[in-house]
Amino acid sequence: MTKTNDDEKLLDKKITRRQMLKVTGAGAAGIAIGASGMGGILKAFGKDFLEDDDTSATNKVNFYGKHQSGIATAVQTNIYFASLNVLVKSKKELQELFQMWTPLAVQMMNGNVIGVYKNTLIPAKDTGEAKGLDARNLSITFGVGPSLFEKKELGLSSLKPKELKDLPHFPKDQLEEVYTGGDICIQACADDPQVAFHAVRNLIRAASGKVTMKWSQAGFNSFPMKNGKKQTPRNLFAFKDGTENPTTSDEKDMNKVVWVQSGDSKPWMTGGTYLVVRRIQMHLETWDRTALSEQENTFGRHRDSGAPLGKKSEFDDMEIERKDANGNYIVPEDSHVFLAKKAKARVMRRSYSYSSGVIDSTGTYDAGLVFISFQKNPEQFIKIQNSFGRLDKMNEYITHRGSGVFACFPGIKKGSYIGEALFNTL
């Protein structure tokens, strides 16, 4: 680490002058210490300088742990998702990028401002718009896309998991380059739109010259409350989204669906997961003029209760084989849920709605779903998407415009940094 970084880090920690004097006195009594002496002083402080999760912080999600935050974390109200391309030209520079991001992510997830003001002729290190807000359950999830491993100068090709590749073309896909792919993704989720945006903005700013923004998307969720408990949120078609998710506290189920197990993939992915993101435009105008019964047949659920068609409550068993007196399926064979169930694959959905103004060429809403799912293998998503194929009644009302698949690193151990396993195996 360069001297400047050390100096800055020292200033970032609000150490008292007295603490400082104690160490400098012990280490260099009677000797005038110039700026070049700072490194030694820092060493004397040792581990105190590692950023750590502040357990006393309010509305705090932990950064360190077995898995990254923002996956099994209870879904927040807001997301800011960013897909980046890297400009760095070596794996060492890439490693340094993730090392540099690590303490920033911890500080922001503690609800703290990055850095202190020291010289008013220099802009503040923190862009500042989250000042005075607490952590708001901020989670930050980092992933790497297939294109990163294809950059020869980074020398990562032998570490690319075979399942990490661009998703195949699905029927009715209308992908736009401006919403597709990326070398790195940052998913920031928080119970506050400004906190989520601030996190991504500051990570990207700190990486100036090392990354460029490829695309980004903000999204939102709203949770009805029942007996003080968050209920499944509704998407912009007014249907509940995420009913079938594994229970995040059920470790066995999470290991089955979400977390990469030892031997499943490249060793550096153990404890990680694959993120699939799809920017799905919802044609709100056509949906809104569709009869309620038709809407419910499209999903295969009742709109208000979220219950499977013909059943009473949201979490009732779907039982897709049910037939009526005439021998017809109660849940239509071309309904979204029927086809999803038929695929016999599960994923963990963590989607958000988006609304991004008006599409110039049509005068319609540019609104829809930032679909995000986590799975131990992208194949799980592909199976479901292929099952929808051309049959899905939903196709009439949606268009997939953006797509990305990212390998999300396993959790970060205290003292380590984001993605260490990837670099350690080099």
């Binding site: 360069t2 400047t4 100096d7 200033l11 002058r17 007295r18 400082m20 004097l21 400098t24 006195g25 260099a28 009594a29 009677g30 000797i31 005038a32 210490i33 110039g34 700026a35 700072m38 400009l87 202190v116 003001y117 020291k118 010289n119 008013t120 002729l121 220099i122 802009p123 700013r205 100036s208 010259g209 460029t212």
Partner: protein
Amino acid sequence: MKTKSLLAILLAGSVVMTGCNSADDAKKDDSKTKTQETTKDASSTADLQKEVDAYRDFALDQLDKFTTETEKFVAAVKDGDIDKAKEIYPTARMYYERSEPIAESFGDLDPRIDARLADLKDEGKGAEDWTGYHKIEYGLWEKNTTKGYEKVADQLLADAKELRGRVETADVTPDLMITGAVDLLNEVSTSKITGEEEIYSHTDLYDFKANVEGAEKIFTILEDKLKEKDPTLAKNLADKFKAVNDLLAKYEKDGGYVSYTKLTKDDTKALSEAVNQLGEPLSQMGVVVE
């Protein structure tokens, strides 16, 4: 009041403290540190007089040339020589754009010389209040004429000369240089890269280049001092200036630059990103005053 950076204060404090252990001294030193820490008035402790003088000389030289070139431009306009006026227009303006941190510091003169019609409309004024280079730009490129612009040309020359005279009195400081360098790049990011500066002549890349040169000049003047404080930053800035200049060189044509209208979306995006990647480290140049 002069202030030190927190880092400098911590270091200064430790120098005082390492020699003595008296609690009284520590107390005194604490209180001193406190007052300095809370002083946010930004100004330098480092001696940058040589650098400030060098920058003043640069700006004076640029504005000397600006006056001379404006004289030629005005003569061409009054002679009705449209081609010659069009030829001089972008290069004469470059001297102004290079020295903008100083040229713009005279709030009344800058709009008279350099206002776009859109700037005036923002202030509730109209075309009748419009003077300076961009008004003649409109005549030359939109109307293909110099007729009726003679008076505007005379006024432009008078304003250019007045500017040159007043620059002698300009208060050049390290602050002005440091914020000026970033401002120059911000000008590029907000109006040149979008083609909003030269909406009739589309000679935006000349202004682009001149703004970058103006910022680079400030960096070059401060470079030695910056190397002492932060060699990594100095190296990074040299690299990033080179990246922007190399990219701009792709659009050179006949000793000048291609029209802004020839740029594709990918071109402007690449230029914009290179400027932003330069601007972010450039904003850290203030460490030279520490």
